[in-house]
Symmetry: C2
Subunit: 192 residues, 2 copies
């Protein structure tokens, strides 16, 4: 059965397609609830998405959580990015040595009978300067743990390691286990 990714963000859809292949986009402009929980936000959104499309659908909510900023910009990452961008984040961290941060994603999938959530985390730190143009959003200031490059410098690195990748992988496994969806592409991903 065809699965849809409900999102207004073409970059997120492109990433999901690169990772799991067999997914269609459902253009979805939804005002999310205010919450510090990605899961709460995703569950509410996927309920609404299903009422509109009436087909198996998932949404995702992602945030960048910076430790020394009490988790800022967190679940408001998209909005904060539009307002102050990477330059603003780097300014807030100027002179701060502890630069630990993590990207977190929560995917919520709704097939009309149940809602399941899948989490992905990618630990790392905030770079001192912006580097690379292969990603979007905060990618050019995020260096994953154990690497020297930012996600903006290496799209292939991001697709292998990222919070979104990890959560999509869990979603793919769930589909496979439940024989919801079989494709060569998904099997490849799972063996990765």
């Amino acid at each position: 059965m065809q699965v849809y990714f409900a999102t207004s963000n073409k970059n997120k859809y492109r990433e999901a397609k690169e990772i799991i292949g067999n997914v269609k986009r459902f253009e979805f402009n939804h005002i999310e609830i205010r919450s510090d929980s990605l899961e709460e936000i995703a569950i509410e959104a996927v309920k609404v998405a299903y009422t509109k499309i009436k087909k198996p659908v998932f949404v995702e909510d992602t945030g960048l959580f910076i430790k020394s900023l009490n988790g800022f910009p967190g679940t408001y990452s998209g909005w904060v990015f539009k307002k102050i961008g990477n330059k603003g984040i780097l300014k807030l961290l100027k002179g701060i040595k502890k630069r630990g941060a993590e990207f977190r994603t929560c995917i919520a999938f709704n097939d009309g009978t149940r809602i399941k959530t899948f989490f992905g985390v990618c630990k790392g730190k905030i770079a001192v300067n912006e580097r690379g143009k292969q990603g979007f959003g905060y990618d050019s200031i995020f260096i994953p743990e154990g690497y020297k490059y930012t996600f903006g410098e290496s799209k292939s690195l991001k697709n292998k390691l990222s919070h979104r990748y990890n959560s999509l992988l869990k979603l793919s496994r769930y589909f496979k286990k439940n024989k919801f969806w079989e494709s060569q592409h998904v099997r490849d991903i799972i063996k990765y």
Copy 2:
């Protein structure tokens, strides 16, 4: 008839009481919608508040809009304050000469038959350092136009000039015009 101010913020209630006197607090913890419009947020909130209290009730939503930060922190001012505080705002503005900002308030009043909104604005700029402890939130970094002091340095200044004062004044006038509510205190305010 008794009017209620639905808020979870005791500081806002204290200010409203100092300005309009005859108001009771309705303890109200509501998750606001995400929006860049204070009015949209306030209208949605007061609809919910009325369904709970079933008495004439108003809510207010306030934001600090900094021009050189594209209106940040705007309608997310409360959340941003918890995360990065005044120190964060000052850091974001470090080295920036254009420091223009305004506080905006929207009050939404619901008497069960109609919803009315009232706006208040206070123009000013962001100080270079935090000053004063008489206010709360961003008061200690906000200098109203035509003055040298921050709102944090002078509570009386704030109560005379502020966005919240202006919007509460309009609310009081509306009550008086509609003979909704008469009190010496309100008449005094209106003559101010």
